[in-house]
C-alpha cells in the first residue's frame, strides 16, 4: 500500500531524444492507474523508471514520500509482471512463485513460504500446476504464474507491462476482469501499461494518455471520453474512433462537409475569430432517423453510405468525404500519431442494428450539435471542453473508487472473520 509520486520526470537516451518528457503524476494509495498511448509514446519507459530498471535523467520519483531515484529495483519493493511473463524456465511453478520469498533470506520459514505460495496459487487457480515447469503451461496459465509471483511479495505496488498482449482475445477478456477483481480485492496501488484502449477504459480508475513522451491528459475513463482536452486524446479514446470533420466558420453557421450547423451562444463565442475548426463527432452520436428518433435540437442531413458492417449488436456505416486542404495536414499528422495508415478520410457512423441502410444508399442521419467537440486546428485544443463538468466527473469517479475500495476491504475483513 503506497502512493507513487512523479515530479518532472524526464528520460533522455544517448541521442538526446526525450522518450519521456516532464511527466508529473500523483498516484494515490490503492489506485489503479493506466498508462496508455500508441507505440513509442514512452509508456513502458515510464513504468520501467518507476520500477528502477531504467535510469531517470532528471526529475524526482517518490514512493510514499521517500525519494527512490537512486534505489536499485530490489530495494523499491515493487512487483512487476512482464509482457513476456519472464518466468524462470528451470524452476517449477511453485518455485517460480516462491522465488521472491526465498530471496528474502531468513525472513520466511519454509512453512511460511509454502503457505503463502499455496494461498496465491489457490487465488489464481494454479493448484494442480504447482509441480509443472512453465514451458508446459498455456499462455493464460503462464500469465497467472507471473501474477502469482507478484502477489506473494506483498509489495507496495503492482506494475504491469502490457500483460495481456500475448493472449488471444477471449482469454484477454477473462484475464482483464481477473486483474480488476484481484486489484480491488487486494486494494493495492497498481500501474498498468497498455496500448489497448479497451483495457485502459475498463480497468483504470484514472487513465494517463501519453503522446511522444508527453502526458496529454490524466483523468477517469468517463472524463476522457466526454471531456477530452485535445484532438489526440479525443482520437485515441473511443472505438470506433471519433470522426474529425473540417468545418468553416461562416457568419452564424458552421459548415461541415455534409451539413451546416447553426452557431449559437457559447459555441459562437469560442470559435470567434477563427476561419476553420475541426469538429469531432463520435460515431455513436449519429442516428439513423428512419429507425430511431433523433435527439432533441438535432441537425438532420442526408449522406451516401459507401460501406456497412453489421455486427449483430451494432452496425457501422462508412461515409467518405473530402478533407479541406487547410486542415488536411493536421488530420494526417493526427492519424500518424495514432498509428494510423493514412487511408481515405471517411466518417464512421454507429447505426442502430435495425437500420436497413445498404451500400450505396442515401442515409438520413441526425445528431445533436451539443455532442460536437470543436478543436482548434493549430493547437489541437478542445474549445468545447467544459471544465466544471470535467471536475464534476472527476469528483464522482473518485468517490466511486473510494467506495469500491472500502467495500472490497470490508468484504475481505468479513471473510477473514468468517474463516477465523
Amino acid at each position: 500500500m503506497s502512493s507513487i509520486e512523479l515530479k518532472h520526470i524526464v528520460k533522455k537516451y544517448g541521442d538526446g531524444f526525450p522518450a519521456v518528457n516532464d511527466v508529473n503524476l500523483d498516484i494515490k494509495d490503492g489506485e489503479f492507474v493506466i498508462l496508455v498511448g500508441p507505440s513509442g509514446c514512452g509508456k513502458s519507459t515510464l513504468l520501467r523508471m518507476i520500477v528502477g530498471l531504467e535510469d531517470i535523467t532528471s526529475g524526482e520519483m517518490e514512493i510514499d514520500g521517500k525519494r527512490v531515484n537512486d534505489l536499485a529495483p530490489r530495494d523499491r519493493n515493487l512487483a512487476m509482471v512482464f509482457q513476456n511473463y519472464a518466468l524462470y524456465p528451470h524452476l517449477t511453478v511453485f518455485e517460480n512463485i516462491a522465488f521472491p520469498l526465498r530471496l528474502q533470506k531468513g525472513k520466511h520459514s519454509n512453512e511460511e513460504i509454502d503457505k503463502k505460495v499455496r494461498d496465491a496459487s489457490a487465488m489464481l487457480e494454479l493448484d494442480e500446476h504447482l509441480e509443472r515447469k512453465p514451458g508446459n503451461l498455456s499462455g493464460g496459465q503462464r500469465q497467472r504464474v507471473a501474477m502469482g509471483r507478484a502477489i506473494v511479495r506483498e509489495a507496495d505496488a503492482f506494475l504491469f507491462d502490457e500483460p495481456l498482449s500475448n493472449l488471444d482475445a477471449k482469454l484477454r477478456g477473462q484475464m482483464r476482469t481477473e486483474i480488476a477483481r484481484m486489484q480491488r480485492r487486494l486494494g493495492i496501488t497498481t500501474v498498468y501499461v497498455t496500448h489497448d484502449q479497451t483495457e485502459a477504459m475498463t480497468l483504470g480508475d484514472r487513465v494517463c494518455v501519453l503522446k511522444r513522451g508527453i502526458l496529454q491528459q490524466v483523468a477517469s475513463p468517463r472524463e476522457l471520453y466526454e471531456q477530452p482536452t485535445n484532438l489526440f486524446v479525443a482520437g485515441f479514446i473511443g472505438s470506433p474512433p471519433m470522426n474529425f470533420l473540417p468545418a468553416k466558420v461562416e457568419g452564424n453557421s458552421l459548415k461541415l462537409p455534409f451539413v451546416d450547423v447553426p452557431l449559437d451562444g457559447p459555441l459562437a463565442e469560442k470559435v470567434k475569430g477563427k476561419d476553420i475548426v475541426i469538429v469531432g463527432l463520435r460515431p455513436e452520436h449519429l442516428k439513423d432517423t428512419t429507425v430511431e428518433t433523433g435527439p432533441e435540437h438535432s441537425v438532420k442531413f442526408n449522406a451516401v453510405v459507401d460501406q456497412t458492417e453489421w455486427l449483430g449488436n451494432e452496425q457501422y456505416a462508412y461515409i467518405p468525404y473530402e478533407a479541406d486542404g487547410a486542415v488536411r495536414d493536421q488530420l494526417e499528422e493526427l492519424d500518424r500519431d495514432l498509428d494510423g495508415e493514412g487511408l481515405r478520410t471517411q466518417m464512421i457512423v454507429n447505426l442502430d442494428p435495425r437500420s436497413r441502410v445498404l451500400e450505396g444508399d442515401e442515409a438520413q442521419l441526425a445528431f445533436n450539435p451539443a455532442s460536437m467537440h470543436v478543436f482548434d486546428p493549430q493547437s489541437g485544443d478542445n474549445l468545447t471542453r467544459d471544465d466544471a463538468r470535467a471536475a464534476e466527473i472527476a469528483a464522482d469517479s473518485e468517490k466511486m473508487r473510494k467506495a469500491a475500495l472500502e467495500r472490497a476491504r470490508k468484504r475481505d475483513a468479513e471473510q477473514a472473520e468468517k474463516s477465523a
Binding site: 530498471l53 530490489r74 512487483a79
Partner: protein
C-alpha cells in the same frame, strides 16, 4: 523444423550417412584391431582375418606393456599429466569465459568489441608459430616442463573459443529474466547465480567439453614444451620404442590411443543430450 522430406530423399540421406559413418569409424576400428594384435600378427597377415584386419587370437600384450610393462614408465605418468592439465585448464577456462561472456553480452563498457576481436584474432594464429617463442620464454622463466607451463598455453587456446560460444549463449537468455529477478529482490550476483547460470548450463557444458577435447588432443605444445615431468599422452606416444630398434611400437601406440580415446567417448556419451541441446540452441539466433 521441416519434416516434409520425401521417402526417396530420406533413403538417399540414409545411404550417404552410412557411408560417412563407415568412413569415420573404420580408422578407429583399425586402431582397436591393431592394439589387439600380437607382435607376430602385426607382421604376418596369415594370422589375421578379414584381410589383415582382425587378429585370429586376441592378445592383450600391448595393454600390459603400456600399463605395467616396459612402456608404463612413459605412459602412466603421461596419462596423469593429461588428466590434470586438461581438467585444470578446462575448469579455469570455463569459469573465466563464463564471467567474460556474461559481461560482454550484458554490460556496456568501452573496449567490448576489442575483447571479442582480440579473442578471435588470437585463435587465428597457427599454434606452431607460438611454440618456438614460448619454448625460449618458458626455459628462461622456468616454466619449461612444468604443468602450469602447459596449462597456460591451453588456456590461450581454449579461452577465445569458450568466450565466443558462451557469449552467444548468454545473448539468447532474455533480458527480462534478469530484470524480473532484480525486481523480485535479487542482487546482480544472485540473479546471475540463480537465473542466468542455470539457463546457460547447456552452453557451459558444451564449452567445457570442447575446451577439454582441445587440450586433450593437443600434440604440438605438449611435445615441445615438456620433457618428462609434464608430458601428456599424445606427446608420450611419439617417444614409445619397440622391443628392439627393428620392431615398430605400433601395437603399443594403438593401445595407448585406444586408452586415451575412452574418456572422450565416455564424456560424449554421458553429456550427449546436453551437447546436442547446447550445440543447436547455440546455433539458432534467439
Amino acid at each position: 523444423m521441416e519434416t516434409n522430406i520425401s521417402t526417396k530423399a530420406k533413403n538417399g540421406l540414409g545411404v550417404v550417412s552410412i557411408v560417412i559413418m563407415i568412413w569415420t569409424v573404420i580408422p578407429l576400428l583399425w586402431i582397436l584391431a591393431t592394439s589387439l594384435k600380437s607382435d607376430a600378427a602385426l607382421g604376418d597377415s596369415s594370422k589375421n582375418v578379414l584381410g589383415n584386419f582382425w587378429p585370429k587370437d586376441i592378445s592383450w600384450d600391448n595393454y600390459k606393456l603400456i600399463f605395467s610393462g616396459g612402456a608404463s614408465d612413459l605412459f602412466m605418468p603421461a596419462l596423469w599429466h593429461s588428466i590434470i592439465v586438461c581438467v585444470v585448464s578446462t575448469v579455469i577456462s570455463v569459469v573465466l569465459a563464463t564471467f567474460c561472456a556474461y559481461a560482454i553480452s550484458r554490460l556496456d563498457f568501452p573496449g567490448k568489441k576489442l575483447i571479442l576481436t582480440t579473442a578471435l584474432a588470437v585463435s587465428f594464429f597457427p599454434v606452431i608459430a607460438m611454440v618456438t617463442p614460448l619454448f625460449n620464454l618458458w626455459r628462461q622463466i622456468g616454466l619449461f616442463d612444468t604443468l602450469p607451463g602447459l596449462i597456460i598455453p591451453y588456456l590461450a587456446l581454449t579461452l577465445p573459443l569458450s568466450i565466443w560460444i558462451l557469449s552467444a549463449f548468454f545473448q539468447q537468455i532474455p533480458w527480462e529474466m534478469e530484470q524480473a529477478a532484480q525486481v523480485d529482490g535479487a542482487t546482480s550476483w544472485q540473479a546471475f547465480v540463480k537465473v542466468v547460470a542455470p539457463l546457460a548450463a547447456p552452453g557451459v557444458f558444451t564449452t567445457a567439453i570442447i575446451a577439454f577435447f582441445t587440450a586433450w588432443n593437443d600434440f604440438v605444445f605438449s611435445s615441445n614444451l615438456t620433457a618428462q615431468h609434464a608430458q601428456t599422452v599424445p606427446a608420450a606416444l611419439s617417444f614409445f620404442t619397440g622391443a628392439s630398434q627393428f620392431v615398430q611400437p605400433t601395437g603399443a601406440i594403438c593401445a595407448a590411443a585406444v586408452v586415451v580415446t575412452i574418456p572422450v567417448v565416455i564424456l560424449v556419451l554421458v553429456f550427449q543430450k546436453r551437447i546436442v541441446a547446447g550445440l543447436t540452441s547455440g546455433a539458432v539466433k534467439g
